[in-house]
């Protein structure tokens, strides 16, 4: 019974996927969406059931299916666990997933391949559930690669456009670079402890620490973090995420903002007992996180594509989460993942709504003044913008503030970097808001005629997410009233840095500073885009540092020059030179044999007379040798 119900969690989206894949074309345009939504909702209800159960019992549920992979010294079961952490993530994944499915029914209604779209979305939910419920690292890897695969399929959903396909391919390959790190990390742990089970690993790690193992633990943690870099788009493996915006907007919201990209944070949180033992790697994570946060935010302030801004914002926010992780404040990172999921999903869906109304236009320079036409989209977008900027009392304020606090306590430099990032965040988010919803409409007349508020299937998820983005902070209030910390405490080994702290003036000051920074960013944006009514310039007119920013520090070009081009050059070199050399050597042996045969061949000239004379002479010589010598 228990096993069956847990499995149902997985089976729902899988069945939805299979139905839509096999008969989706035959059941019309609207049914695939309904089936897919029902499947995810089913999983959500089961997750909710177990969530309520664990609130009262506090006991994790484990399900072992069968032996999946057998190594020489140990074997790995296909096993799942529902504990506090995975249930929390399940709620986010299936809950937001269901909302985005509903949204997609409206958004994708006119697409001819709507059945494929929903089947991929369901497959994604399936793999995401596998990822978060996995009971060991290898099962987690199934989900880990599976979501990457779905991300590939969905980014390249409009497969007729080869640029989209390029983006999809890039995402997949960069993820796979990370995946290699992940697997290497898993092997290191397996090599040390002959197990990949989380529970057993935790036990083993708490007992054994010789100098040799701790060095290897560092390797393991480092490799696993590379995996997280790939999946969660951290420097240097972040460039795929902005490109991934080629996919349909609900995909960007679900996969590239709310769920998949947080898998890296989930994994590190899951393995907190490992990372706690490797302070060097933790510090490294914190630095990478902080740098990514600032770096991506700085690119975000000049982008003109509405989705690109949100993408860089996502990279930046993920950086903040890694900063928290690196400082050992896992529950804060989790908290920020949740609030981020709310407001970023809402922002993406809002932008989708705008793009929908604009007939596919994504350039903010051609928008403006949409406030009047699309009031629901505007309000939800505004709420989420306030939330991400860290204005109290919206959800983002609480989670961000806690990250800032913990950063300051550990390292003021990291705090400064993070503060700068959030200043920029407030600036570019309000820039988006002003450019999109205020002032005059700057698009074509035809677009203007076409402007409309989106249908209910799209606005209802927006409203729900807007509400969540407002009140989401309640789950972890400051001053020791954090429900989340208590809830997650069984997951952590206890040494977690962010223990509940009472009411303190220090924290009050902090909140003030954070809010002030956010307000400064907001005012700067107001000054530039409302008071001075600036509209970003055309591509050619951008100069100076802004041009560098606009071109994303030319990172794509640099990667292209130092990785992609050499690989192609090598391919050419191998194909034309190395292959010929090797073939030449092989044929060289044949040629040597041929050369040796040349003198002998001269004797075989075909003249029978010559053969006979040769024969007689040789015979005579033989006789002479025999008898005379």
């Amino acid at each position: 019974m228990e096993t069956g119900l847990v499995l149902l969690l997985l089976i729902f989206p899988l069945v939805g996927f299979l139905i839509n894949l096999s008969v989706g074309k035959k059941i019309g345009r609207s049914l695939p969406g309904i089936i897919a939504t029902a499947a995810v909702t089913g999983s959500f209800i089961i997750s909710l059931f177990y969530f309520i159960q664990i609130l009262s019992t506090g006991e994790a549920i484990e399900v072992h299916l069968f032996e999946w992979v057998a190594f020489g010294e140990f074997s790995v079961n296909l096993a799942f666990v529902l504990d506090q952490l995975s249930l929390l993530w399940l709620l986010v994944v299936t809950g937001i997933g269901a909302l985005i499915h509903i949204y997609s029914i409206g958004y994708m209604h006119d697409d001819e391949n709507v059945d494929r779209f929903f089947s991929y979305l369901n497959l994604f939910i399936f793999f995401m559930i596998v990822l978060v419920t996995a009971n060991n690292l290898l099962v987690m890897f199934i989900g880990w690669e599976g979501v990457g695969l779905c991300s590939y399929l969905l980014i390249g959903f409009w497969y007729k456009n080869q640029q989209f396909n390029d983006a999809a391919k890039k995402a997949f390959i960069m993820n796979r670079i990370g995946d290699l790190g992940f697997l290497t990390g898993v092997f290191t742990l397996a090599y040390l402890f002959k197990t990949v089970d989380f529970a057993t690993l935790k036990l083993a790690l708490s007992t054994t620490t010789t100098p040799e193992t701790s060095a290897l633990l560092g390797v393991a943690a480092f490799c696993l973090f590379i995996g997280a870099m790939g999946k969660s788009a951290q420097i240097p493996l972040y460039t795929w995420l902005p490109d991934a915006m080629a996919g349909p907007t609900p995909v960007s919201a679900l996969i590239h903002a709310a769920t998949m990209v947080t898998a890296g944070i989930f994994m590190i949180t899951r393995l907190n007992f490992l990372f706690d033992l490797t302070p060097d790697i933790q510090y490294f994570i914190a630095i990478i996180g902080a740098v990514t946060a600032l770096f991506a935010a700085s690119i975000g302030i000049v982008q003109t594509d509405i989705k690109k801004v949100l993408a860089y914002s996502t990279v930046s926010q993920l950086g903040l989460m890694f900063l928290a992780l690196g400082l050992g404040a896992y529950q804060i990172a989790v908290f920020h993942v949740i609030t981020h999921a709310f407001f970023k999903a809402c922002l993406f869906l809002g932008s989708g709504s705008v793009i929908h109304a604009m007939g596919g236009e994504q350039d903010m320079r051609k928008m403006g003044g949409l406030k009047g036409v699309m009031s629901i989209t505007y309000i939800t977008f505004l709420v989420s913008t306030l939330s991400i900027s860290g204005i109290p009392p919206f959800a983002g304020f609480f989670s961000k503030d806690e990250i800032m606090l913990v950063a300051f306590q550990n390292s003021p430099i990291l705090w400064v970097v993070a503060m700068l990032a959030s200043l920029l965040t407030a600036f570019y988010m309000f820039r988006v808001l002003y450019l999109t919803f205020f002032k005059e409409f700057r698009g074509t007349a035809e677009q203007k005629k076409h402007l409309h508020e989106s249908p209910f299937s799209m606005t209802i998820p927006l409203i729900v997410l807007g509400v969540l983005a407002t009140v989401g902070g309640l789950i972890s209030l400051p001053f020791g009233y954090s429900w989340l910390n208590n809830y997650l405490s069984p997951i952590f080994s206890g040494s977690g840095a962010a223990e509940a702290h009472g009411f303190s003036t220090e924290q009050m000051v902090f909140m003030g500073v954070s809010t002030l920074i956010a307000l400064i960013g907001m005012s700067l944006a107001y000054y530039k885009y409302m008071t001075k009514s600036t509209v970003p310039e055309e591509d050619e007119k951008i100069t100076g540092f802004a041009k560098v920013l606009y071109n994303k520090y030319y990172i794509d070009e640099i990667y292209n020059a130092i990785f992609i081009k050499p690989i192609y050059a090598m391919a050419n070199f191998f194909k034309n030179v190395v292959e010929s050399i090797i073939t030449g050597v092989v044929f060289g042996f044949a040629l040597i044999a041929k050369g040796l045969s040349a003198p002998a061949k001269a004797l075989q000239n075909g003249s029978v007379g010559f053969y006979l004379s040769f024969f007689v002479v040789a015979f005579c010589l033989l006789i002479i040798c025999l008898f005379l010598v």
Binding site: G146, Q162, F172, L183, A571, K575
Partner: protein, 477 residues
């Protein structure tokens, strides 16, 4: 049950297929292939109760026994051959060619020879089967291949002489071993007391034979030409089975006979295998002929398997066997995919393809599944194999794992690159009919196998593990 029966069925099948005439040949061949598959499964069921040996004196002096022995490792290879055989035949039946009776008869004969290789436990008998398998494939390539006659004859001849030359080294090693031990029997050769120098030479002699046939970089140059020139069945026999024959032989003969040399040469052969993996992945990027492309992909994958074998750890060997089976099925899917496209577009060139996804959704799913399996997405059989090999290599050195792991993204790179050019993009003017029932059946069978064992590889591991442990025992003595 006598294991020689499988050989007899295949040989009789080959003769009867030839006698049955062009019209009936495909059906007769298919019948015998299925009978073989049934018998080998029956053999598997029986195996768990009793060991399977068969031995009669063949030549008195020098003492050569016609001795066959099937342990778990041999059995899995025989099973691979006999299960793939009907599938390979299925890829050919809907496509008529001249002299069908000869073609089908040669296919069965080739299966006969390869099964002989997998089963024989007498070195000279093994060598005879080994060389015997070369004859049918030569004629298959020459008589039914693609391209001009002179070119394919040249490729086939190069291949023939090249592998034959390699095998001669092996024959030399076998004869030397006979002079040392006075027997060609496997057990006797395992227990031959060889000095380190002798082992080194014997290891190298075997390595030449196997490295050419597997193929391992830099002995691979025949491969792309022959794969391209061969007809589909030829490519499948070569890629799915013949390369496995050499990999199996490395496990069965090379490692246990020359264990010290295997340890001594490990760095060299591992490096060569891994270079093959990376090299194949990179060269594939610039191939415009789809079959050549898959040939280089195959080079990368067999390099992976070879690395698993030469890791000399239980996980490496186990992974290698798993990946051998997985690759056997996967490569059939890939090459068959290229053939399906060729039959419709009438061109092997990637640059002239594109937009198939919009025209043939079923084929797209099938082809995509095969590609995903070949880049080892979790839940595919290939993943289990590759991962186990990588863990096996990790026990040697983390750097080998990382180096060979680059194939995770390099492999994805070239495969998706190809997929994008061939399947995605705007729909082309040329019509592309979706899969026929026959073609669909091939893909369904392959996908079912790859997915099933991807989820549950335990039966295979349980079957081969004792044999591999025995081999490892000899290797580590």
């Amino acid at each position: 049950m006598n294991i020689a029966i499988i050989l007899i069925i295949l040989l009789v099948g080959a003769i009867l297929t030839y006698l049955s005439g062009n019209r009936w040949a495909p059906k007769v061949a298919m019948l015998f292939a299925i009978i073989t598959a049934i018998f080998s499964i029956a053999l598997l069921l029986e195996y768990h109760n009793t060991g399977t040996n068969f031995s009669v004196q063949w030549i008195n002096s020098p003492s050569v026994m016609f001795s066959l022995k099937a342990d778990g490792l041999s059995l899995i290879m025989v099973l691979l051959t006999s299960v793939l055989l009907p599938i390979i035949l299925l890829t050919a039946v809907s496509h008529t060619v001249p002299y069908e009776k000869l073609l089908y008869s040669l296919i069965l004969f080739m299966a006969f020879a390869m099964t002989g290789v997998f089963l024989s436990s007498d070195a000279l008998l093994y060598y005879v089967f080994w060389e015997l398998s070369l004859i049918p494939i030569y004629f298959i390539v020459v008589l039914w291949g693609n391209g001009s006659m002179s070119k394919r004859r040249r490729s086939a001849l190069t291949f023939f002489i090249y592998t034959f030359a390699g095998s001669l080294f092996m024959l030399g090693a076998i004869i030397y071993l006979y002079t040392k031990t006075g027997s060609f029997q496997l057990e006797a050769l395992y227990n031959a007391n060889l000095s380190d120098t002798e082992q080194l030479w014997i290891f190298l002699a075997f390595f030449f034979a196997y490295a050419i046939k597997i193929p391992i970089f830099p002995f691979h140059t025949w491969q792309a030409n022959v794969y391209q020139k061969a007809p589909l069945v030829g490519t499948l026999l070569l890629g799915a089975l013949m390369s496995k024959m050499a990999l199996y032989s490395a496990l069965r003969w090379q490692l246990p006979i020359a264990p010290h040399a295997a340890h001594g040469m490990q760095t060299v052969v591992l490096t060569l295998s891994i270079i093959g993996v990376i090299y194949g992945s990179i060269v594939a990027l610039k191939q415009d002929n789809l079959k050549r492309f898959f040939a280089y992909a195959s080079l990368a994958h067999v390099g992976f398997i070879a690395a698993g074998i030469y890791a000399l750890t239980l996980d490496g060997l186990q992974g290698a066997v798993l990946l051998m089976v997985a690759h056997g099925f996967g490569v059939v899917g890939l090459f068959f995919g290229s053939e399906v496209i060729y039959r419709r577009f009438n061109t092997p060139l990637i640059s002239q393809m594109g937009g198939i996804k919009g025209q043939a959704p079923k084929f797209t799913i099938a082809f995509f599944l095969m590609i995903m399996a070949s880049i080892a997405i979790p839940l595919s059989f290939n993943f289990v194999g590759e991962m186990t090999i990588m863990y096996g290599l990790y026990q040697v050195s983390i750097w080998y794992t990382v180096l060979i792991g680059t194939s995770m993204f390099l492999g994805a790179f070239f495969m998706l690159h190809m997929y994008q050019l061939v399947m995605l993009g705007e729909v082309r003017k040329k019509p592309f009919a979706d899969l026929t029932v026959n073609e669909g059946l091939v893909f369904i069978l392959l996908a079912a196998v790859l997915l099933f064992f991807g989820l549950y590889s335990k039966p295979i591991v349980d079957l081969v593990s004792p044999s591999l442990q025995e081999i490892l025992m000899y290797v580590n003595r």
